[in-house]
Symmetry: C2
Subunit: 657 residues, 2 copies
């Protein structure tokens, strides 16, 4: 937030113009838009958005699933009530909601407090004569909440509000209600006093099957399906630990009041990993050494609770050593997430890892770090990396009676010295008759300490007294001939434990939107043309094919190159419209297409082609074979443009505008 | 149905053993299985199932979307009520359901009739002493409906029932009720008489947003989202027609009583194309010539209505000429679907194209052909190819008032000769005063025929009489000075029309399951090992890497080859367990892995490797570079095994069992 956003070439970021580009080039648009009153928080991706999304998912699959041999699964979205009751979602997966009784509008309590207080800080600045940043000005223009009033606040109030805002995610419903009372936050629409916040469950409900007997929900995360198949996956993995499952699919959350475009939606693509790890021995990771020296910007819990947002740049090795990050496996994934974001092409200066505060964490989490990306909407959680401990496997095992655990043969058998009791069954039965079982159970329930004491009694007195509720007067005497107590060594060859889960969870839509903001800039010049500088590996289309003119001689050659590139796996588009070459390239800079191939009369004669790079607008010229190969290598990330420009002859002719 | 299914090497198909393989190797298993009473019709895909599904989708995208430059979109699953009300799904997207009032069970009416009547035919055969086929025997064993009774039927009744079964998809609810009465079909559970069938809507309903004000559904098809973005797509496509949109995503249908594994599920992956075409000029397709000579097995409507199932093998060119298939565009897609199924590796002898009967068609369809694949469950609809005419665009345009149409400049302006009326406004107003507008509207509403007649009146009598409801006595006289009627030529430069839609719609799960059945066989021999012969392009994993033993010298080489193949985009798995090589290969034959690379002591010395092919079990030996390249080429479908076996030296050593 704070400072105004700038684009990658340092100019002020203009969201209105980006949004217009998104719509114009059909990256995404609101769903059902031709119907008036279409629901918020639902979006359709057009061809460019689909292509970008597919490439992000593809990179994710390569970077995580293939690289680490994860077990990919695709589980059901429709989920019976009892599964999400067990997981805690039915009771706890809620946001705090306020209904304006007069207007009938619904507000998310924390968002309402945040917006109103931010607004007051702005009003204070205005009253003090501080000019708003470009971003603040733009936000103000678009604000739904009433106009900012220029009212000066006490210095102490300003500091207090800033602290509240820094930990806004840490308040529960009651505390939000107190803030609303304390700061006299009213309905933005009617100015009325509002009722206290109530929990609103975010899951969409439905009925599965023709009767109403089986209520269900649309899953709010892909995780539960993965937990429920744990035993099957463990068996598929030949009982070997640790291992991870992974899933890519849609999840659903019935947001109270969706806003911020793709950043808060009701239906979204998630990519989630559940890494199952033995909790014993500090949750080590075998490949941690590969990432130990990678440096991250960390914003930990304590700093936030102190009302601050200062990040610390530290290697993940050090962060784990110093217990800022709890364990190696959590640290390993934070580093791997960082590498993934870098490969995607996000701006390294706009990434931080923020630890969740206690109240902010999901009900299942023991610890959680978010990878946040800076956008014009502020810092946005794009990847959550939670330590869910053994929570989910434990509750499902308990609810179903199915063992969701690992049984492994101990390398060294465990030898346990313990007092054991032998009962002389032949005499025991006749003596106690119907009470025999009760007495036996009481003996089995004795602790080691008691057994040790009894063994001494038996030795010294030849008998022992044992309390047995409900038999005789509550105490039973056992003679030597009925019982023996001896210290022996028991050998345990197998160990049984419930794995802990480290869960990196990616919101693909949020990543996609943030990447678009980070890639967006305008080319200096009279007409300020928009460019999206996606890396070639991520760009939806890799090459634009541009015949010099609509002359029919070009068509067969263009068709041949297009087909050749397609066979090489390079997605390409032909623009044989009558617009100038410059205009045609400009249109494709907007789509983030990294390369352009021009076909001219010389091409028809000798097969030579001009290759243009989007960001530098530099061009090289070479034969068809060389150009196609260079484009393929760059699209796969094997070679960089600088290398290609270094080895192929430059083409200096001006772009024909 | 009819004859018993055989596998690709001619043995009897054994579904029980295939199902056991699917579960054991985690292709797919029922969702939420650890919970008792988990809902039917929901499945989780494991790693092998996910990989297979991803490769089918990938081929689909290449074969259709990329090859034909379709515009891919990804639209919302949550759909407001009013959209599906307009599309007709709220009123008509239903199956006929019967509730057994005593047991509370729900039956799908057509399935109940089908099962009971098929059972009676079997009982008849038994009574006549005809041995059931292997498949029938197996079906009987698994039947939920009561045991078949050996009761001989009249010959005429047998013929009648056979005819009913041949057109079972053509009956509406009333007709199904009549069949139930006629054949005295009772509750399979209680033997009671059943109530008449009622429609049951198949959409899952929910509420969008915090209030109950916006009811919605999970989409039953991806199509509606595509229709609603039509105008945006047309603009994106620079107003050029024809074009197609395409979408891959989950859809949902609340089946009354799911059965048949993956074939009838409540949540499924669809891939749908909406090809928008000008209805004028016979719905030609520019690339029809490329497919004209492709021959398909067609089962048309008339044959089915005659109670028969004989297919006709005919080229698609001829089928369109003879109007068996209505138009070129529909025919083009049938042929393209056929080519897609071939590339996938389905058994060409188990494919047919069946035309829908009138009552069977969805409410929006003008014509529809299904690509059906033969499985042990009978002929299964895997791809529907419907001509939805202008139905959807028309109803949505009407409901929203938004134009969902194409406006194009006519190449030849349309010249229309017509009678036109000129009104002398200056005199007209003063004369009719408040009635002026009504009179004018009445004149504008006159047909060409009437105008022609009036022009003669005007010429001959100097005045005309026009009926104007509500003015004077209902007739108005107009003199020459008020009105002129002349024949003139009007020129129309633009044409406006609502495109028709041809919709090929693919059920990916059904295709996946049918492909698995077609690919399944057991290797002759003592232990009857299972093999899934997926084509290398489709197989979930391409290569298994097998070190000869657990000797530590092999590990670095295996790791290097694995990494090298991954960089080449070839998915691979290492099996360095202590099982014999033969066993390890057998395990992977079950997963459909087409190739295996063995690393032995010679490999460590000189880098040479053995490459094994799954179906033939033949082996070749060459250097790492050559082997990796061969595997890559075969995995991409560029080279066949036969070619590789022809150019690389055979390795004759026996497989080490």
């Amino acid at each position: 937030m704070s400072a105004g956003m700038t684009t990658k070439n340092g100019e002020a970021f203009d969201r209105v113009s980006l949004e217009s580009l998104m719509r114009r080039r059909l990256f995404y648009t609101p769903s059902f838009e031709i119907y008036p009153g279409n629901p918020k928080g639902l979006f359709d991706y057009g061809p460019a958005g689909c292509g970008l999304q597919a490439n992000i998912v593809d990179l994710w699959r390569k970077h995580f699933v293939l690289e680490e041999n994860m077990l990919e699964v695709d589980c059901a979205i429709l989920t019976p009530h009892y599964v999400l009751k067990t997981s805690g979602h039915v009771d706890k997966f809620a946001d705090w909601m306020i209904k304006d009784p007069k207007s009938g509008e619904f507000y998310r309590a924390d968002h309402l407090v945040e917006e109103v207080l931010e607004d007051r800080l702005k009003g204070d600045k205005e009253a003090r004569g501080v000019k708003p940043t470009a971003e603040e000005g733009e936000q103000k223009r678009k604000k739904k909440v009433k106009d900012t009033k220029a009212v000066k606040l006490d210095d102490a109030v300003v500091t207090e509000i800033e602290e509240v805002l820094a930990k806004i995610d840490n308040y529960n419903g009651e505390q939000l209600g107190q803030l609303i009372t304390k700061y006299d936050i009213r309905s933005p629409r009617t100015g009325d006093v509002l009722p206290p916040p109530e929990p609103f469950n975010l899951m969409f409900s439905t009925n599965i099957g023709p009767s109403a007997a089986l209520p269900g929900y649309l899953r709010p995360e892909t995780a539960q399906g993965q937990f429920l198949t744990f035993s099957k996956l463990l068996e598929f993995n030949n009982q070997a630990m640790p291992f991870a499952s992974a899933s890519i699919g849609k999840s659903f959350r019935n947001e109270i009041s969706p806003r911020s475009g793709l950043l808060r939606v009701r239906e979204f693509l998630m990519a989630e990993i559940e890494h199952f790890v033995d909790p014993e021995g500090g949750k080590k990771h075998p490949r941690f050494d590969e990432v130990r020296n990678i440096e991250l910007e960390l914003l930990n819990r304590e700093v936030q609770l102190a009302g601050k947002t200062d990040v610390e740049r530290v290697s993940i090795g050090k962060a784990v050593e110093q217990k800022i990050v709890d364990n190696e496996t959590l640290g390993y994934f934070l580093a791997r997430i960082h590498l993934f974001l870098q490969k995607l092409g996000v701006d390294a200066k706009k990434v931080r890892f923020r630890q969740h505060m206690q109240n902010e964490m999901a009900h299942y989490a023991a610890d959680c770090w978010d990878a946040e990306l800076l956008t014009s909407y502020g810092w946005i959680e794009c990847v959550g990396c939670a330590d869910r401990s053994a929570y989910d496997l434990t509750v499902h095992a308990k609810a179903t009676g199915q063992p969701l655990c690992v049984r492994e043969t101990r390398k060294e058998p465990l030898r346990i010295e313990e007092w054991q009791v032998d009962i002389e069954k032949k005499k025991f039965g006749p003596k106690f008759k119907k009470d025999a079982k009760t007495v036996e159970a009481a003996i089995e329930g004795l602790t080691q300490d008691v057994l040790e004491k009894l063994s001494l009694d038996l030795k010294s007195e030849g008998k022992v007294s044992v309390d047995v509720n409900g038999v005789g007067n509550g105490t039973v005497e056992l003679e030597k001939d009925l019982i023996a107590i001896e210290k022996r060594t028991r050998v345990e060859n197998t160990r049984e434990y419930t794995p802990n889960v480290i869960e990196p969870s990616f919101g693909i839509g949020r990543i996609l939107y943030s990447l678009i903001e980070h890639s967006y800039w305008t080319r200096p010049g009279s007409d300020a043309r928009c460019v999206l500088s996606f890396p070639p590996t991520i760009a939806p289309t890799k090459v634009l094919l541009v015949p010099l003119s609509t002359h029919p001689d070009f068509a067969p050659l263009v068709r041949r190159i297009s087909h050749r590139l397609r066979v090489l796996g390079v997605s390409n588009r032909v623009d044989d419209s009558s617009a100038t070459i410059g205009k045609r390239y400009a249109r494709n800079d907007e789509l983030g297409t990294p390369f352009g191939i021009t076909v001219d009369f010389q091409s028809v004669k000798d097969g030579s082609l001009t290759l243009r790079e989007r960001d530098s607008m530099k061009q090289v010229r070479a034969g068809e074979e060389e150009i196609c190969q260079a484009v393929q290598r760059m699209s796969e990330g094997v070679e960089a443009w600088e290398e290609v420009a270094g080895r192929l002859p430059a083409f200096e002719k001006q772009e024909l505008e």
